[in-house]
């Protein structure tokens, strides 16, 4: 193995720049395995939520059907689904060695993610005002833990992608950064898929 070149000239830009190096390949495989672990993590969270979703101390405590507002959850879903799409655009431009477009679409992804997170925070504040908090019932604990863990993942993703945009600004696109962008996009898709499950299991099942 001779010296590796990260800054591949555009005429030799590979079809899959993210796995062009051994580090890139490792990152790719390793991250998928990490996501397998994350799946087990969220599966445990969903199981806990399903076990506790109707467990409140008294009749006066609000349950899912009285709390949830589907329109808001629907708007949040749209924000996150669209952001998943824009992250696909970013990866597409990364593969085409189009640095500017990649940065742009990453930025759009972050903005949509921020929108989602703001709505989620707004929703939580509303619930707390209605007396549905982390501490009042097992239902509340399970609800905030599941959605909070997801929200925390979104926040991490936002910091991560913002960091990427900033560091890329100075360095430009190379196969080294390509691997980083690709893993971040994978992560973002995963968060999105988890949200689809949350929307179905928590919101739809909750109001039905």
């Amino acid at each position: 193995m001779a010296h590796m070149e990260y800054n591949v000239p555009s005429e030799r830009w590979p079809v899959h720049p993210e796995t062009a190096t051994l580090e890139g390949k490792n990152k790719f495989v390793g991250f998928w395995i990490f996501l397998a672990g994350e799946t087990a993590l969220f599966a445990s969270l969903f199981a806990t939520y399903l076990a506790l979703k109707d467990s409140v101390p008294g009749d006066d405590h609000l349950l899912a059907a009285e709390l949830f507002a589907l329109p808001l959850a629907f708007v949040m879903t749209m924000f996150l689904l669209t952001s998943s799409l824009t992250s696909v655009y970013a990866v597409y431009h990364m593969r085409n060695n189009n640095f500017k477009q990649m940065q742009l679409w990453l930025a759009v992804t972050v903005l949509l993610g921020l929108g989602f997170l703001s709505l989620e925070i707004y929703e939580f504040v509303e619930y707390v005002h209605l007396g549905h908090t982390f501490r009042t019932s097992a239902f509340g604990s399970a609800f905030y833990f599941l959605l909070g863990t997801h929200g925390f993942h979104v926040a991490i993703g936002l910091v991560w992608i913002t960091g990427l945009i900033l560091r890329n600004a100075k360095r430009g696109l190379s196969v080294y950064t390509a691997a980083k962008v690709n893993t971040a996009a994978l992560y973002w898709h995963f968060i999105d898929v988890v949200w689809v499950f949350i929307f179905t299991i928590v919101y739809l099942l909750g109001v039905m």
Binding site: V29, A138, F139, S141
Partner: protein
């Protein structure tokens, strides 16, 4: 080796180990830390046996006894057995597959430091108000009820070490998938590598449920949630499910790498290839797969209902089949071989009957109605020590003697090794065989004492005598290690003479870059093939050239330290707060706890951001340096 030959100052050696990303040095870190915790857990075991030697003993009080058994279990499983296995996985797997390092050397270092600091965190509980006392299973109703911060140390500490374990698991899977040398196909990998792969996959799926379970416990105890508080709708059975969804695969995470070590030992010291290799691989995978479908056999008496009990009973019994396949293949490996009775081989031979006995009592417990009697009695204690000591610890001791030359390029004394072996194995059977009967005679486990006149006296005394023998065996082992290190008599390539897999083809001590040239693997038992065909010289798969190696880094240590500090913040956060559970609401308030939590997390986050923003491209080992090393080695050989 020009650099390693130089005598280094003590401080620089410490710094080297704190920043190292070399899998061989990380293996040594795991070995030292795991060995330390093993001795600690052993001392706790001795305290238990002293307390139970005679009826109505007051050597330990009921409360202290519960702390000791909890720490014994937690320490042995999480802080001794797993790290020691990680030591051997790290020491062997990259060498067995022909790689220069693991896939993520930085994460490898992070894994070890999370484990070490998490382990220290749990054990600091002894000095900071008392250890956890709800058993290593820490069932929720009791762990919520337990006063003081003991359980908090357990929950936070395990969270930290657990993160390290998960990271290491991901790392090994990626390494084995991506970093195999040319020709090293999956079906040519040594069994140690295969079992590491399967155990690592199990880690990836088994640890997240524990993470969630621990978070539920942490939130209930430290942040006022009510997952396990029945008054506000909580349910304590959730903990039991999550714990055992982790806990049962954990047993296989421990035993599979031990199976791997034994497979290597059997074929090496029988001078014969492993019998039924593909059946062995298949049964390993199958055991790992079944491992996730039997967790509720730990909960037969919880009242899950007859249907659940029947299903889990059948699934449990089914695991006996692939395990049986392994046992018979090992016996057929020995059969017709040429057995050399080295210390590792002796452990291997003692393992077979011992593990079969532990295995069959496991199947007996699978028969659920009979398990209503065995459950939580000394029968269970006997059973799991037969599989964990008879399987895992024998495996670790075999691995310690077998891989010692690979790790330190010296040999442990065979004579002292055999003394340890006889004392340990005899002591083990004396300690635990009789405990089956104690259980059947109606003695529950986790009792700090028993009354006179129940027929338990003699059996408990016998058990304690056996434990003393095991303790003496470990002392002899420690003496053996000290003597070997002090003598420091170096050995050369293939010290056992019968090495078969790639790791034994390397010169000792193994160069920091492992392979001057990545070897070409031409079949199973790659080194053995070349010994037969090519006088033991591996064929290179690449021309001699510069190659890339990762830089050392202190960041993994700093990240772990941040979590360690944040752990204390979380731990004391609920202390004295009016919303807290009654176990800690009467304790003094600690206003600094929140700040400690924030500062700790900020340190970790800062280190992570530094890591992300600073490109760390590693360095190149030049062709000239490698050539110099090769020449030096040749001179040494002559």
């Amino acid at each position: 080796m020009a650099t390693t030959a130089k005598k280094k100052g003590f401080g620089s050696v410490i710094w080297e180990y704190m920043t190292t990303v070399d899998h061989k040095k990380i293996a040594i870190l795991y070995l030292i830390a795991g060995g330390f915790f093993f001795v600690l857990g052993g001392i706790e075991a001795m305290l238990i046996r002293i307390q139970l030697a005679v009826p109505n003993n007051d050597f330990l009080s009921g409360g202290l006894f519960n702390e000791v058994i909890t720490m014994h279990g937690t320490t042995m499983i999480f802080l001794a057995a797993m790290p020691l296995l990680f030591a051997f996985m790290n020491a062997t797997v990259p060498l067995q597959i022909g790689a220069r390092d693991v896939a993520f050397p930085f994460l490898n270092s992070l894994g070890v430091w999370l484990f070490i600091l998490g382990g220290i965190f749990i054990n600091l509980s002894w000095f900071l108000g008392g250890a956890p006392d709800a058993g290593w299973t820490s069932y929720a109703s009791l762990s919520i009820d337990s006063p003081g911060h003991g359980i908090d140390f357990y929950a936070v500490g395990l969270q930290i070490t657990g993160a390290g374990t998960l990271i290491s698991g991901i790392n090994f899977v990626t390494t084995i998938i991506n970093m195999r040398a040319p020709g090293m196909t999956y079906m040519r990998m040594p069994l140690m590598t295969w079992t590491t792969l399967v155990a690592s996959v199990l880690i990836v799926f088994a640890f997240p449920p524990l993470t969630i379970g621990l978070f539920l416990l942490i939130f209930d105890r430290m942040f006022g949630s009510s997952f396990f508080l029945v008054e506000t709708g909580g349910n304590t059975i959730i903990w039991e499910h999550l714990f055992w969804i982790f806990g049962h695969p954990e047993v296989y995470i421990l035993i599979l790498p031990a199976f791997g070590i034994f497979s290597e030992v059997f074929s090496t010291f029988s001078r014969k290839r492993l019998f039924g290799y593909s059946a062995m691989v298949f049964s390993t995978v199958l055991i790992g797969f079944f491992g996730f479908m039997v967790w509720a056999h730990h909960m037969f008496t919880v009242g899950l209902g007859p249907t659940a009990n029947a299903i889990f009973a059948l699934a449990t019994m089914a695991i006996a089949v692939p395990t049986g396949v392994k046992i018979f293949n090992w016996i057929l490996t020995i059969w017709g071989g040429s057995i050399e009775f080295t210390t590792p081989m002796l452990y291997g031979l003692a393992f077979i009957p011992t593990f079969v006995m532990g295995g069959v009592t496991g199947v007996m417990q699978g028969a659920a109605p009979a398990d209503y009697q065995y459950h939580d009695s000394y029968f269970i204690v006997a059973h799991f020590h037969y599989v964990i000591v008879g399987g895992v610890v024998f495996g670790l001791l075999a691995g310690l003697h077998y891989y010692w030359p690979l790790m330190f390029s010296t040999m442990l004394s065979e004579k002292l090794g055999k003394i340890t072996f006889v004392l340990f194995v005899a002591g083990f059977h004396i300690t635990f065989l009789i405990q089956h009967f104690l259980g059947l005679w109606g003695m529950p486990r986790r009792v700090f004492t028993y009354l006179d006149g129940q027929g338990y006296n003699t059996a408990n005394m016998i058990s304690t005598i056996g434990a003393v023998m095991m303790a003496i065996a470990v002392v002899v082992l420690v003496i053996n290690i000290i003597i070997t290190v002090a003598k420091n008599k170096q050995v050369g390539r293939d010290p056992w003479g019968d090495g078969r897999s790639l790791e034994w083809s390397l010169p000792l001590p193994v160069p920091y870059y492992n392979f001057a040239q990545i070897p070409l693997v031409r079949g199973m038992d790659a080194f053995w093939i070349e010994k037969e065909a090519n006088d033991g010289k591996m064929m290179p798969a690449e021309s001699l050239d510069d190659f890339h190696m990762p830089n050392n880094s202190i960041l993994p240590f700093i990240m772990s330290l941040g979590l360690f500090i944040a752990g204390f913040g979380a731990l004391y956060f609920a202390s004295g707060k009016e919303w807290a559970i009654s176990a800690v609401s009467d304790m003094p308030q600690h206003p600094w706890a929140l700040w400690l939590l924030i500062i700790g997390l900020a340190i970790t986050a800062g280190a992570m951001i530094t890591r992300s923003l600073k490109d760390d491209l590693g360095y190149y080992v030049t062709k000239e340096e490698v050539l110099r090393d090769l020449e030096e080695e040749e001179r040494g050989a002559k």
